[in-house]
């Protein structure tokens, strides 16, 4: 839905540009290949005009967008640069230039990789075609209306939230963005219509956040504070544990007393029968309790096991075992068959 909305807003942007045609009359473009689309674009524009009234209210939408562009431009090429104190950033920017190429490759790769979000992919392809279409139109317009701009329209396009992966260079952003903004302003003056789109306020601006360095409740500050607070020093930690153990033992003691008291009240106690010597292993698992070596216990366990009577001692056991085996085989076969059906559905038998 959002995509569609922004499509519309994009169109209106285009329209505005057209209106400002005379303003930027002298624009020449290198993109000769868009020529054939001329006619179509013109038609499109006409259509837009006729629809213009209906859409007027939407034009408003694009103004805030332009504001956003403005933010972006004032921010420069990368927010990280604002700090301007880290060599890292510079380094990475250098890399970035290289990576723009790779980025292009990614556009292709997206297609491959996007198996999982499959319908998302379709969407994307659809919108890609869509966008290309529009881009052509846009370029067309640009030819007429804008002189200095190289890819500003694309920029606007991107910032207008085309659900899309753009692979355009993002240098020159600020200049272009300024341009786009001016245009948008000019056109948006015209309409004062009522705004009814709900996403309006959200779409309008980038939500600015402070560094949060004065706010301990969340973010980096919190994590650093947490980190430091969890390290109060050896002594204090020891003290805490000692405290815990003391209260814990007290609780245990308390519980024991209560139990005893309870027993005393009833006037009788449950007698537990202890057989043989004191146990050194846990009954179920054979884990050593106390000081007996584990190896010895394991040894004992192994010996004990061997004394068990074989499972096929009685005839009925033998028969049962046989039957179980057959059942197992059958179920395995059934499973295999099921699995093969599944595989067949997935056409996994195709060795090419």
């Amino acid at each position: 839905m959002g995509t569609e909305g922004s499509h519309k807003s994009l169109k209106t942007t285009k329209k505005k540009m057209k209106k400002n045609k005379d303003y930027h009359e002298k624009k020449k473009s290198k993109l000769a290949e868009t020529e054939p689309n001329m006619d179509r674009v013109k038609e499109e524009k006409k259509k837009n005009k006729s629809l213009g009234k209906k859409r007027k209210h939407r034009e408003k939408v694009s103004e805030p967008e332009a504001t956003k562009v403005d933010h972006y431009s004032s921010e420069g090429k990368g927010p990280g640069e604002v700090d301007g104190q880290k060599k890292k950033v510079k380094l990475s920017r250098k890399k970035k230039i290289n990576n723009d190429e790779i980025n292009k490759a990614d556009v292709g790769k997206v297609d491959e990789l996007d198996n999982e979000v499959e319908s998302g992919l379709n969407e994307q392809i659809g919108s890609l075609a869509d966008r290309q279409n529009k881009e052509r139109k846009l370029r067309k317009k640009r030819r007429k209306s804008d002189k200095e701009k190289k890819s500003g329209v694309e920029k606007v396009d991107e910032l207008c939230n085309e659900v899309e992966d753009g692979s355009k260079e993002e240098n020159d952003v600020s200049k272009k963005a300024h341009k786009a903004k001016k245009k948008a302003r000019l056109s948006s003056k015209k309409d004062e219509k009522l705004l009814e789109r709900r996403e309006e306020p959200e779409q309008t601006e980038v939500y600015e956040m402070s560094s949060g360095d004065d706010d301990c409740s969340r973010g980096m500050k919190k994590w650093v504070t947490d980190y430091q607070q969890s390290r109060p020093g050896l002594k204090i930690l020891q003290q805490r544990i000692d405290d815990f153990m003391t209260t814990f033992e007290a609780q245990e003691e308390q519980a024991k007393k209560e139990r005893e008291a309870l027993a005393a009240e009833g006037g009788w106690t449950v007698v537990v029968h202890h057989k043989g010597r004191k146990k050194t292993t846990d009954a179920e698992t054979g884990v050593t309790v106390g000081s007996v070596a584990q190896a010895a216990v394991l040894d004992n366990m192994a010996k004990k096991k061997s004394k068990d009577v074989g499972l096929d001692f009685y005839r009925f056991q033998k028969r049962e075992a046989q039957r179980n085996e057959i059942m197992a085989l059958q179920s395995k076969f059934e499973q295999d068959k099921k699995r093969i059906q599944q595989l067949r559905a997935a056409r996994k038998f195709k060795p090419y």
Binding site: G2, T3, S6, H71, E75, P79, V82, D83, K88, S92, R93, N99, E101, A105, D106, G108, K109, V110, E112, L113, D114, N115, E116, V117, G120, E123, L159, V163, G166, E170, R198, E199, E202, V206, Y207, E208, M209, S211, G212, D213, D215, R218, G219, M220, K221, K222, D226, Y227, R231, L234, Q238, I241, V287, V289, G290, F333, R344, F349, K350, P351
Partner: protein, 1057 residues
């Protein structure tokens, strides 16, 4: 029903496979073929008789092949018949070729045309005429040149018929000219010379291959007919042939011109099925039995040493002389008609490879699950996956190849292959187990009339399998003794300036070559040798040689240095620590054992730590260090204490007691050795020799305690901390052992882990799971041998991930080879029950990946909750495309934008929203692979960076005392982890967070639980849902204040449930 009552899953699968690849001879299809063929026949018959043909038709070809006197008058072919696999009903899809034998008439040739390539030239001119008329006709949509078994001097025509059937696969008609009884066979005796240009000082040499090549054409139809007779009416034999074709096609190293082709397979089977081969295959055998017998015959039979001889039809048996001349071929299969071998193209290396593959296949059938069906028929065994080192030579415009002429006895490309092969053998010596060289001369869409110069378009491929790593990574090659002058001279000549006279420890003085390098760079030695030799002997420039070795290492390096180099000092530091721990005597219970847990100790950590200048006992001079990291990654070490009966019984109390012990230990280490100690309530970190170690105590009793955690609606049993510790301990020691057995294991794991993280799968696939997956490649390498290079291993990892049948099989990693049959039964039982639960409840996110080991038979250790089936889907898709890209990168030159980096560069468009982080707030900024930028989607949030944390100690802070500085050092501080943790706390079950724990600067978010959450709101407008998302994103931004750079909203999640 009858067909479904097979008892053996292998048979069942083979049936299904056959159904898939067999061609359906439906009436409509046979009609199509018949019509096409008769149309072609008609067209050829319309060619005017006695058309005068001269070399002007194809001057380039005639020139390059070196023929003279090629004029002739065109006559109609004697016959045009369908032959080959179509007529035998043994076509294996997807290649549906109908071979059409066009018998050229004797009248077109002179008696002596067998000399000097006249036959070949005329044969080509004949085809040119046919091509011309076919192109004019309406029968062919397209007519293309191809070559017969990659033999350039014997082109054939490939016709793409105009008529097509919608449902049937693409049909191609191959027009193959034959020369039945055109020449006198005795003139083509193998010991005769028929190419006069081939002589050495005036002495003519026998032209074995040339003669064989012509004999082949002479008897092509007879041989095909003979094979067809054997196969017709014998269903099992035909099916087995199709299986063998499928098998061979999956193996690109043997299904090539110098080894096997479909016809040769059928000849071998025909041999085994007739009297000549003593009826080794008989009518009572099933398809799979025939397959196996053939495989066994190829792999083990001694008959190959002498050659296979068919019984001659009618005439006397093969004469002794011809047997002797046949001996000069590495493999001999002498057909029933004339004394020449059908395998004259087969090379020794090709044949050895074939036998090796056959032997490997037999062991697959024996050892692998389900009769090795997947390994034998379904797994692609191409150069990149099979060979440890792949080298690609770009031979474009390399004139040296045909300096002597394109065709003498053999073709120049084939001779060049042999030349490169012998060079490689000499250069690598016993380092290599097998060396395979292939130079395919495909020429789709080019004009053969212009000659052979475009045959160098494809790169020449060299594949090398390493014998053993010790040999392969040897630093010094000892050559001949200095006293042996001749040999020494040869050695010097071969190695050039690399040869060196050296005196060895045992006193010998010998020629030698030394490939000096750092220990962790030794895997590059093979590349250095190859580069040196190829540049020296083939006058190739370095940029034309692409050796695939270290192209992915950029992802593991710090600058130009691999941090693995510090592993030795790390192990030393650990030794010191464990000694000190054991010597402690001022604590109530003594330390009985110390065991390393962290992956850095077993060489499988992507970034093993470097010694930190602040994490030492003594004072330090920081001035020397330019950038000192303010974070340090602690390495976990597990200790066990002496047994005692005084431990508390309660779980919490046990943990507290452990902490108390650890604190005591830390204190004691501090007092005794001055090791700084950095404790928190849960663990104690101590510093020594530049490393930080985090101590963990294991208490046996805790092993059986299970924590009861009550989830939303069911009770889950969570293993206690002790249980987890003990599993990690076992895993660690097992992997460490494995790493010792396979030295290349570590690097492969590191590449794999880096890949997993780089694509934001850090939460989806645990590090240990990656280790197990890679371990599987080494323990169960079928149908390969265990990989011996990092890239081959990495590629196989990606393929395993993408191709393994996760839904229906458990992956059993038997690290020490000690799982018994019962164990496996138990594992499979566990697997079945987990899948049953899954089947019953599709929402259930029970392990999508079932990884079982001897210490964890129910796949609970690493893959219990992740990856979910959704994550697995994404993983598989990413792995598949990465694997494809990687194979392409190895085999072909890729355009600029598709370079190696792409494998580690994840697309950011596949998420609903993307959070970008401040790069200079990452704890280890140097690990960042690619800075992420987004120019799509809606920019929703922007935040500025915090000043509270810097990944490097600032110069201004350097001046404080050492103690202060040490205090500044942050142990295991990872804002990314904190952020993700906070997100899960603040906005539980809202979305799935995808991130790179190793040091990415972006986080992907995909909405989750849309089915339940959003569908409630469906009554309202959809746009409102979007508002919610934006609000949520703002909250996300708030949670990461000071760390989040910006948030982009890419696409609204799909609103379907």
């Amino acid at each position: 029903m009858a067909s479904e009552t097979v008892t053996n899953p292998m048979d069942f699968k083979v049936r299904e496979l056959l159904k898939e690849v067999q061609l359906d001879y439906s009436p409509s299809f046979t009609k199509l073929v018949d019509e096409t063929v008769s149309a072609i026949r008609e067209t050829i018959h319309q060619i005017p008789e006695d058309l005068h043909v001269t070399e002007d038709v194809a001057p380039g070809f005639v020139r390059d092949i070196g023929a003279d006197k090629v004029e002739f008058k065109f006559k109609k072919p004697k016959s045009i018949e369908i032959g080959g696999s179509y007529s035998m009903r043994c076509i294996a899809k997807p290649d549906v070729n109908v071979d059409l034998f066009v018998r050229m008439p004797k009248e077109c040739f002179h008696e002596k045309d067998y000399l000097n390539y006249r036959y070949h030239a005329k044969r080509f001119l004949y085809l040119c005429i046919v091509k011309k008329y076919l192109k004019l006709s309406s029968v062919a949509q397209k007519v293309e040149w191809s070559t017969f078994q990659n033999e350039a001097r014997k082109p054939i025509l490939v016709v793409h018929p105009d008529m097509k059937l919608v449902e049937s696969p693409q049909l191609l008609v191959r027009i193959i000219p034959t020369a039945t009884s055109v020449f006198n066979v005795s003139k083509l005796n193998l010991d005769r010379n028929n190419v006069r240009a081939l002589n050495q000082g005036g002495v003519l040499q026998a032209t074995l291959k040339y003669n064989s090549s012509m004999l082949e054409d002479l008897f092509l139809e007879d041989n095909a007919e003979f094979v067809k007779r054997t196969f017709l009416g014998w269903k099992e034999l035909g099916e087995a042939l199709i299986l063998l074709k499928v098998w061979a096609r999956q193996r690109s190293s043997i299904y090539v011109h110098d080894c096997l082709n479909g016809f040769l397979i059928s000849v071998i089977m025909a041999y085994l099925g007739t009297k000549s081969g003593r009826n080794r295959i008989n009518n009572s055998m099933t398809t799979m039995q025939i397959f196996r017998v053939t495989m066994d015959f190829i792999a083990t039979s001694k008959l190959w040493d002498n050659g296979l001889f068919f019984q001659h039809q009618g005439e006397q048996s093969t004469s002794k002389e011809s047997r002797i001349s046949l001996k000069s071929f590495p493999v001999v299969i002498c057909g029933p008609f004339a004394d020449f071998t059908l395998t004259f193209r087969m090379t020794r290396s090709g044949f050895l490879e074939l036998r090796d593959e056959a032997a490997l296949t037999l062991s697959c059938i024996d050892k692998c699950g389900d009769g090795g069906f997947d390994e034998v028929f379904m797994t692609r065994i191409d150069f990149p996956a099979k060979y440890d080192y792949c080298i690609r030579l770009n031979m474009k415009n390399h004139n040296e190849v045909y300096a002597m002429g394109f065709c003498l006895d053999d073709e120049c490309w084939r001779s060049y292959e042999q030349k490169v092969l012998s060079l490689m053998h000499q250069a690598l010596n016993d380092r290599a187990k097998t060396i395979r060289i292939t130079w395919r001369n495909t020429l789709s869409g080019c004009n053969l009339e212009d000659g052979f110069s475009m045959f160098d378009r494809e790169p020449l491929l060299i594949g090398i399998s390493v014998s053993t790593l010790e040999k392969a990574l040897r630093v010094v090659d000892i050559g001949p003794n200095a006293e042996n002058k001749d040999e020494a001279l040869k050695f010097r000549k071969f190695w050039g300036d690399k040869a060196d006279l050296r005196r060895f420890k045992d006193g010998t003085i010998a020629e030698s070559t030394v490939w000096d390098c750092k220990h962790w760079e030794r895997y590059l030695i093979i590349r250095r040798i190859i580069d040196h030799v190829l540049v020296r002997h083939l006058s190739l420039s370095k940029e034309n040689i692409t050796t695939v070795v270290d192209q992915l290492d950029f992802s593991l390096l710090y600058g130009s240095e691999d941090p693995i180099a510090f592993s030795a000092s790390l192990l030393e530091a650990f030794e010191v620590l464990s000694k000190r721990l054991r010597l402690l005597n001022d604590i109530p219970l003594r330390v009985s054992s110390v065991q390393p847990l962290d992956s850095a100790f077993r060489f499988t950590s992507v970034f093993p730590p470097r010694p930190h200048p602040l994490a030492v006992e003594k004072s330090v001079n920081l001035r020397l260090q330019k950038l000192t990291s303010s974070c340090i990654h602690p390495l976990e070490v597990m200790i066990q204490l002496e047994g005692s009966g005084n431990w508390p019984m309660d779980e919490v109390a046990i943990e507290k007691t452990k902490s108390a012990f650890l604190l005591k230990i830390g204190e004691s280490l501090q007092n005794n050795w001055g090791m700084a100690c950095n404790p928190t309530e849960d663990d104690v970190v101590v510093f020594t020799s530049g490393y930080a170690f985090r101590l963990k105590a294991l208490h046996e009793r805790g092993l059986n305690l299970l924590k009861r955690q009550i989830g939303s609606n069911q009770v889950k049993w969570v293993p206690s901390t002790d249980k987890i510790l003990s599993i990690r301990g076992q895993h660690s020691s097992m992997i460490n052992g494995l790493q010792g057995r396979f030295p290349i294991y570590g690097p492969v794991v590191r590449l794999a882990k880096r890949w997993v993280a780089a694509h934001f799968f850090s939460t989806s696939l645990e590090e240990e799971a990656v280790e197990l997956l890679v371990a599987y490649l080494f323990l169960k390498p079928f149908p390969f041998y265990a990989p011996c290079s990092r890239i081959a291993g990495f590629l196989r990892f990606l393929r395993l991930l993408s191709e393994y049948d996760w839904a229906f099989s458990a992956l059993i990693v038997d690290i020490n080879g000690d799982l018994t049959v019962d164990d496996e039964k138990e594992i499979n039982g566990n697997f079945t029950s987990s899948r049953k639960a899954y089947d019953e409840n599709m929402q259930n996110t029970s392990p999508a990946v079932f990884l079982a080991t001897s210490y964890d038979k129910a796949s609970e250790a690493w893959t219990k909750s992740t990856p979910s089936s959704l994550e697995l889907k994404r993983l598989v898709a990413y792995a598949r495309s990465s694997a494809d890209l990687l194979s392409k990168l190895i085999l072909h030159d890729q355009p600029e934008s598709y370079k190696w980096e792409c494998l580690y560069r994840t697309p950011l468009s596949n998420y609903n929203a993307v959070v970008l982080l401040h790069r200079d707030k990452l704890p280890y900024p140097q690990r960042l692979l690619f800075p992420s930028e987004l120019n799509q989607g809606r920019h929703v949030v922007r935040g500025s960076a915090s000043k509270d944390f810097h990944p490097f100690i600032l110069p201004g802070e350097m001046n404080g005392s050492v103690k202060d500085l040490k205090h500044k050092l942050m142990v295991d501080f990872d804002p990314l982890r904190c952020f993700v943790g906070d997100l899960e706390k603040l906005l539980p079950d809202t979305f799935k967070v995808w991130y790179d724990s190793l040091g990415g600067d972006a986080i992907g978010l995909t909405w989750e639980g849309l089915g339940s959450k959003v569908s409630k709101k469906r009554g309202r407008e959809v746009g409102e849902g979007e508002d919610d998302f934006l609000d949520v994103l703002k909250n996300v931004g708030e949670a990461g204040k000071g760390f989040v750079r910006s948030i982009y909203f890419l696409k609204a999640p799909r609103l379907c449930n």
